[in-house]
Symmetry: C2
Subunit: 100 residues, 2 copies
DNA sequence: TTGACATATGAGTGAAGATTCATATAAAAT
DNA sequence: ATTTTATATGAATCTTCACTCATATGTCAA
């Protein structure tokens, strides 16, 4: 592999890990693990401001981590693919099972 | 599981993912994948200031990601366990193989 | 023991990023 | 049509964090 590609790959990997490296975002992902939820439900569940949640959802949308559908005035979010689920679960188990 | 524990677990997971969410740190980890290297070698390989590298190494040390031994005036670093290697490689392959 | 080299570290700076605040948009209800 | 409810978003603020700069520590060589 070229050095350029190597750099690009590392940078992509950083981007991926960054998704999971914020408390609010990870709680959203953790919640959405369990199904689909409206912004309201997410906001209530995480006890965080609606605005903060919406900003993070925008981020996750832009990164193709979540998808959404509209239902009346509500917007229902869910995880985009299992891809994300997998990485989250692997990290979660590593972080919790293997204490040093 | 209690809610307290859940929160703690998520926070631990965030910490874990944060390790991998910086370009310099990830390059260090990627390099150390290949064996042990002195600070000098790391500094040269990553073309970054010695100070910046040392600061990140301190972080990685504190998080038990790397271990080190002294050899004369040199300090030789290597990865602490396979644990870290695994997560890095999983993230790396997800980030690079599965393009959207 | 003095000087050169390797690494570590505290303080300061700057940039990225997460939250708040105010407000916009859009759909439903009255 | 107007009000209420749900969500989104721009700007400002505040925080986190990575880097630089200066300097400390420690080891070897002369």
């Amino acid at each position: 592999m070229s050095n350029e590609n190597k750099i690009t790959n590392i940078k992509e990997t950083v981007k991926l890990f960054k998704i999971f490296s914020d408390y609010t975002r990870l709680r959203i992902i953790d919640l959405l693990e369990g199904g689909e939820f409206s912004v309201q439900e997410i906001t209530d569940a995480l006890d965080t401001s609606q605005s903060a949640i919406s900003h993070q959802l925008k981020l996750l949308r832009d990164l193709h981590v979540v998808k959404f559908r509209k239902e009346g005035k509500q917007v229902i979010y869910s995880l985009q693919d299992n891809h994300i689920k997998e990485i989250f679960l692997i990290g979660y188990s590593h972080a919790t099972e293997c204490k040093d």
